[in-house]
């Protein structure tokens, strides 16, 4: 059986340098094992029957014909779920397998295990479900007061923020409504995994995910098994971006494996992947800004509706983010914000990189440009005048105590040189090889936007992380359950160990549930939380080591830059030398500072830390055809401290590409709740020709208090203000209002 192997790699760099990824070589040779590459003797293939209808009652399921197909070993439905037929990332509100009702197109109804994936597919096709088709609820505004489509009701969360003086007003008032379409994470490695049953009724699950322990906790409820009977090991992950935070095939695989007594592998194809995970919440946002002629924003009123789709997932937290940061990275004295996360028969929505901040940032930055116009103030100047700084409060009443170099982020970017004029090249024009546009058809525009993102989980959630540092006869191994999705955490582990222990030869034990939770790989939190846990575990080892040596030598020692120096200065031992021949082990749990829930006025110290970024987009637009080409995106970002420059650049460039996708390319098109473009032919991800060179104007390193190494999370800010910067640039080139993303050719050409 192909196993998940420990990575044992040499590195000679500590924190702050571009250390090489430990998994780089297997990834370039094709040997790296992704969850879809798993294989086992005696393995069966699983497949899922999904509802084609967005709202229907299930009258009957007849799988007798399917079960009779040679090579089919199991067909399971809701009645076969051993424990609770409910799961959910926030709380259990979603069936493992649909019972008597389906609430979204794509909802799982039955699962099959067969000898060959083609047989499994044939079996799925032979299952007869008798549906009573119902009229789907697909309008998020109507959903608020419509007949509930779920026992918990249609309002997943309603949130109000009442900050400052509700009667405050400004000399100038600017109103606008905005819309954000449904984006998809579209990670390259589709959902896949393998469950291996044991004869004692326990099961091992090898899976791509973002949070092993959250998955495990939901699986044991559904299987009615104790914790130690369900063991998860992380299999190679082909990207995540929020789309793997929820359970997808996990329970299904375990059920099939335990039922058949054989290992079961499942791989979603691309079409099924679109159906099989949550998406970014579409949003409808209304704002009314009040400003004075001195350029200060006096009050912001806002209403936000997020379409959460059929099941809750993380809608509650996404809404909180959208609302808490609905006024942007600006010091706003008064705010009245109301938000709803609603349930509809559209596909469920949940985490996607940016997590609520993306939607409101698009709208708020559009408003800021409008306010600037109304005040006859330069848009960048307006942002500078209102920029948050350390010591200011956000609209939840929380004071920013950490680094908040918003002004520096803005000015460093504003001062960055514009791109050099380039020679005309067909490949760089709107339309590209489609040869639609000549120079005379093209106008250039420039746009600017700024964003705020909270780091780590909020509202009182203690998303801690556990790490183990083990020294075995001088060889160092580090173990966390931190999921590596591509972001480079595995590199950081090496760098931290090198930094603290001076050892370049580290074994990274595969992430699994035999160690405590690392929390989710999301919310830009893993460097701070799991990096912090690893740091503490290594430091604990050094402390333990020091105490051992002190006992042996009979004299006190100090750790000076990785060398243990005796009080009398007579003895110096580099830590890596001191560890030779010794065996020690330290396990620590790292917590961030506590946070608190929001009260009924949306007030509370709900967040740990904040990160800021600004983006400047240069676009060429062929207005007559509505075609856009993004020429350059420049950025400045508040990073605390750069721990690995190349990996930081990778996160920034990758995040900006996703922001570009939302601005001009990506949308899941829905018709009565059914996705019309669940494939890569028509869900358009940016290609290398769509994504421009990224200019990093400045990475502001103002160390964040309380953050390990002073480093802030980097992953999400690039996806947030990149989108509104691009749309602002299109507005600049065309003079059009553009209230919706993604901007489509007809939005420009037919106005």
């Amino acid at each position: 059986m192909t196993t998940i192997e420990s990575h044992k790699v040499a590195t000679d760099s500590g924190v702050g340098v571009s250390a090489q990824r430990p998994d780089a070589i297997p990834k370039v040779t094709g040997e790296f094992v992704f969850s879809s590459d798993l294989s086992s003797q005696n393995m069966l293939w699983g497949r899922t029957l999904r509802s084609p209808h967005s709202s229907a009652r299930i009258r009957n399921i007849d799988y007798s014909e399917a079960l009779a197909i040679s090579g089919v070993h199991a067909i399971l439905t809701a009645t076969d779920v051993p424990g609770k037929n409910l799961f959910g990332l926030d709380h259990p509100d979603q069936p493992v397998l649909a019972d008597d009702i389906v609430r979204y197109a794509g909802e799982p109804i039955a699962i099959v295990a067969a000898e060959h994936p083609e047989i499994a597919a044939k079996a799925i096709g032979a299952i007869n479900v008798d549906f009573e088709i119902l009229t789907p609820l697909v309008d998020s505004e109507i959903a608020i007061t419509a007949e509930p489509i779920h026992p918990e009701g249609n309002v997943i969360r309603h949130l109000e923020i009442d900050y400052g003086d509700p009667n405050a007003s400004g000399e100038v008032i600017v109103e606008g409504t905005y819309e954000v379409g449904m984006q998809d994470q579209a990670f390259m490695g589709t959902e896949s995994g393998m469950a291996v049953p044991s004869s004692d009724g326990s099961v091992d699950l090898f899976i791509s995910t973002q949070w092993l322990h959250s998955d495990r906790n939901q699986i044991i409820e559904a299987l009615d098994l104790p914790e130690d009977m369900v063991r998860l090991t992380l299999a190679g992950v082909g990207g995540a971006f929020g789309g793997r935070e929820d359970v997808s095939m996990h329970v299904h695989l375990c059920m099939l494996a335990l039922h058949t007594g054989r290992p079961v592998k499942m791989v979603y194809d691309r079409n099924e992947s679109f159906l099989g995970h949550v998406h970014r919440h579409p949003a409808k946002i209304w704002y009314r800004h009040h400003a004075n002629r001195d350029g200060r924003i006096v009050k912001v009123e806002g209403k936000i509706i997020l379409d959460g789709g059929a099941y809750a997932s993380t809608t509650s937290a996404v809404l909180a983010n959208a609302c808490c940061f609905s006024t942007g990275p600006y010091n706003v004295a008064n705010a009245q914000i109301e938000g709803w996360g609603v349930r509809t028969n559209n596909p469920p929505c949940g985490a996607m990189r940016g997590f609520g901040n993306v939607q409101t940032c698009f709208a708020i930055e559009a408003q800021m440009d409008k306010v600037a116009t109304a005040l006859n103030v330069d848009p960048i100047e307006l942002r500078l005048r209102n920029a948050l700084k350390t010591g200011d409060k956000i609209i939840t009443g929380q004071t920013i105590t950490g680094a908040a170099p918003v002004k520096e982020v803005i000015t460093s970017l504003a001062g960055h040189p514009m791109p050099e004029p380039a020679e005309d090249n067909l490949l760089a024009r709107p339309g590209g090889t489609g040869r639609t546009s000549d120079q005379k058809h093209i106008k250039r525009g420039i746009g600017f936007a700024v964003s705020i993102k909270n780091l780590m989980f909020a509202e009182g959630f203690d998303d801690s992380s556990e790490a183990l540092c083990r020294v075995n006869d001088g060889a160092v191994a580090i173990h966390t359950a931190c999921v590596e999705v591509g972001q480079g955490f595995v590199t950081l582990v090496q760098q931290i160990a090198e930094e603290v222990l001076g050892i370049s030869d580290i074994e990274i034990i595969p992430a699994d549930t035999s160690i405590g939770s690392a929390g989710s790989t999301s919310a830009s939190r893993q460097t701070w939380m799991s990096g912090g846990a690893v740091l503490k575990a290594c430091e604990a080892v050094v402390k333990n080591l020091t105490e051992q040596i002190e006992r042996e030598e009979g004299v006190k020692f100090q750790n000076i830059d990785g060398t243990l120096v005796s009080e009398d200065g007579a003895t110096t031992i580099p830590i890596e030398e001191a560890l030779r021949g010794r065996s020690l082990e330290e396990k620590v749990v790292h917590h961030h500072a506590p946070t608190f829930p929001l009260n009924e006025k949306g007030q509370g110290n709900a967040h740990v830390s904040f990160a800021f970024a600004a983006h400047r987009a240069v676009v060429d637009v062929d207005q007559e055809l509505g075609l856009v080409r993004v020429i350059e995106i420049a950025t400045s970002q508040d990073v605390g401290r750069i721990l690995n420059p190349l990996q930081a650049v990778g996160q920034i460039e990758g995040g900006i590409a996703q922001g570009l996708g939302l601005a001009v390319l990506e949308e899941l098109i829905m018709k009565d709740g059914v996705i019309q473009n669940a494939n890569f032919t028509d869900y358009l991800l940016p290609t290398a020709l769509d994504t421009p060179p990224i200019e990093i104007a400045s990475l502001i390193e103002e160390p964040e208090p309380g953050a390990p190494f002073g480093a802030k999370g980097i992953g999400e800010p690039p996806t947030i203000s990149s989108t509104p910067a691009i749309v602002a640039a299109i507005r600049d080139a065309t003079g059009l209002d553009l209230r919706r993303v993604p901007v489509r050719p007809e939005d420009i050409a037919l106005e």
Partner: protein, 168 residues
């Protein structure tokens, strides 16, 4: 007429006997699940992502769009052939050195594509590189480091130092 008797596939210079029942599979599936060559990836099975790219009779194609039965008698080169004796090719090394790998799922397809591209265009411009890899989707990197890796491998650039100096 040549019908298939004793079907076999020539993959990376090695002859693999295949079963009749595999003829109707996509070559991608056969390579992976039958021959255990998991390097080529399946991210769409529609020819829209390039993660399954292989060399097929010296032409770059998507293996998901090749019928195994029509691959008999053809020369197949997969990602596994890029570093046959363990030492990385220039482009593989460049990917490692310039941070062009994040999750790595798109990486094998890109490497096969780029190797083929550089053989016919040794000193490409950035736009030529981008057009050459426009059939390979990457969701993690935004392509910046990948284009840089091609530059480095083609030796047409001044190297990676320039990029890092631009930060701050």
């Amino acid at each position: 007429m040549s019908d298939i008797t004793e079907p076999h596939l020539m993959v990376n210079g090695t002859k693999f006997t295949i079963d009749d029942s595999w003829l109707g599979e996509s070559l991608l599936y056969t390579l992976r699940e039958q021959l255990g060559l998991y390097g080529s990836k399946n991210a769409c099975e529609q020819g829209e992502c390039g993660s399954c790219s292989i060399m097929f009779d010296e032409a770059l194609v998507c293996s998901c769009l090749v019928l195994t039965g029509n691959a008999v008698g053809r020369e197949i080169q997969t990602i596994e052939s890029l570093a046959p004796d363990g030492s990385l090719s220039d482009i593989q090394q460049a990917f490692v050195d310039v941070g062009a790998i994040q999750c790595g799922f798109c990486t094998p397809g890109l490497l096969v594509t780029i190797k083929d591209f550089l053989e016919s265009n040794a000193e490409p411009t950035d736009l030529e590189i981008r057009e050459a890899i426009s059939g390979n989707l990457c969701r993690c990197t935004g392509y910046g480091r990948i284009v840089e890796a091609v530059r480095v491998a083609s030796k047409a650039s001044e190297g990676t130092e320039e990029t890092l100096n631009d930060n701050d």
